[in-house]
Amino acid sequence: MSGIFKSSLGKKYLMAGTGVVLLSFVVGHLIGNLQVFGPPELINRYAYFLHSKPALLWSARIGLLAALVIHVSTAARLTMENRAARPIGYAGGVAFGSTWQSRHMFLSGAVILAFVAYHLAHFTWRLPAVNGLGDFTKLQTVLDGKTVPDVYGMMILGFQVWWVVLLYLIAQVLLLAHLSHGIASAFFSLGLRNHVWAPHLQRAGLALSVALFLGFVSIPAAIFTRVIGADYAEKTRMELRAATQFEAALVRGKEAR
């Protein structure tokens, strides 16, 4: 069994296996996020529900983190080994017989990893420095009589900034590239495809990655183009400003005292 960690094939199983875990998260994440197209309460209730089950949330987070660590570290090891397998490259010619995305999985993966870090900072840790607007932790709303984070507002407001939208778009393009090769390739690495199934899996993998791409891109696109949440954006902006001013006033008050 140690072959899973040592052999080249074993490492590919790890890549594929963890890739499937991460993919399932991505799918779930999209389904969750698409609720932004509904009324604000929908996604806010969903977010509150997740946060109200810390055991569930944290076991999922730890699982995902483990999958991510294995996926990334194995990718790094494989990439180093693969580079070492060809110390001198070719002088002549161009690439052939392969797609750009299949040759650049490490690159697309690295960009996605960087994006994940940004995305966490943006919406999970809500660091004011990365959103170009202010402190998202201040955004709150009342749901069923309780004060809860206004996730809807945060999303609407977050995607009003053009360069944030651009960052998300770039990341989605690379995710599309990564998955359009990665999904079919995972079946390949796990040996779950043959001469007959290969073309179908290839198409299915591509279809899923395109669907994910469209789904994810639709959110910032719809918000930025004000298809959804145009009014809410103004409202939230005011709220954020008010909260910030209030806080500033408090600070000034403290200083004055």
Partner: protein, 257 residues
């Protein structure tokens, strides 16, 4: 027609090589690529310069000896042929043609365009066979083989062991070669008793030789003179995983996998 040949010259394993450019004498478009090299060599020899060392033998695309990367593509511009079946009509008068050896850590350069491919042999010593003693075989028709399986086994068995798959792969991976060998025997009823042992042993040796891992880019099948499909790699991945999971209860500790 005349061409310029930019070719890798390297005295031996230990001396670093470099490109040199030669002007060809008058050539004929019906010449094979190797005959073009013959003509250039004859010309070099007559000028007192040492001929370019290149590997070749049968010159009809079956022995797998010839091995030139032509303008960055192993075996030249055409699909499904070896270097020896590449004809000068594929090039234009006045072209500069870049010719390099296979490049992989596991295939050290012996001289000029000649590389050492004994790694392939060692992989096969590890398990590329069905253990049957001479004279021990039952009647040839005693074990029936479905035509479908025999044909698929033959698709894999066609491999000529040239190493173009390694040369083409960005990771210098030998997966297509090993998968072809493993699948050829693994598809036949005669190959079943050793199927698991074989794939474990051959993959282990493959890794020890310093080949890279598979990223499923498909460039190997694009240059394979026998157009062997990467679907065989998926088949090997399947066999290997199964063998790893099943393990061998009688193997000495630490030897499994």
């Amino acid at each position: 027609m005349k061409i310029k040949l930019k070719v890798w010259r390297q005295k031996n394993r230990d001396t670093p090589g470099q490109f040199k450019t030669y002007d060809s004498p008058e050539l004929n478009e019906h010449m094979s690529f190797l005959e073009m090299l013959d003509v250039i060599n004859e010309d070099l020899a007559n000028k007192g310069e040492e001929p370019i060392a290149f590997d070749h033998d049968c010159r009809e695309g079956i022995c797998g000896t010839c091995s030139c990367v032509i303008n960055g593509k192993p075996h030249g511009p055409n699909r499904g042929v070896a270097t020896c079946q590449t004809y000068m009509r594929s090039f234009k008068d006045g072209d500069t043609i870049v010719v390099e050896p296979w490049r992989a850590k596991a295939f050290p350069i012996i001289k000029d365009l000649v590389v050492d491919r004994t790694a392939f042999d060692r992989i096969q010593h590890a398990g590329g066979y069905i253990s049957v003693r001479t004279g021990a075989a039952p009647d040839a028709n005693a074990i029936l083989v479905p035509k479908k399986d025999a044909d698929l086994a033959m698709d894999a068995a066609q491999c000529i062991g040239c190493g173009a798959c390694v040369a083409a792969c960005k990771n210098a991976s030998a997966m297509l070669f090993v998968a072809a060998k493993v699948s050829h025997l693994g598809l036949l009823p005669q190959g079943q008793p050793e199927r698991e042992k074989r794939v474990l042993a051959m993959v282990k040796q493959m890794d020890e030789e310093g080949f890279g891992a598979c990223t499923a880019t498909g460039s190997c099948q694009a240059v394979c003179p026998k157009e062997i499909s990467i679907a065989f790699i998926a088949r090997m991945n399947h066999d290997y995983g199964k063998a790893l999971l099943k393990g061998d209860p009688h193997a000495a500790p630490g030897q499994a996998g």
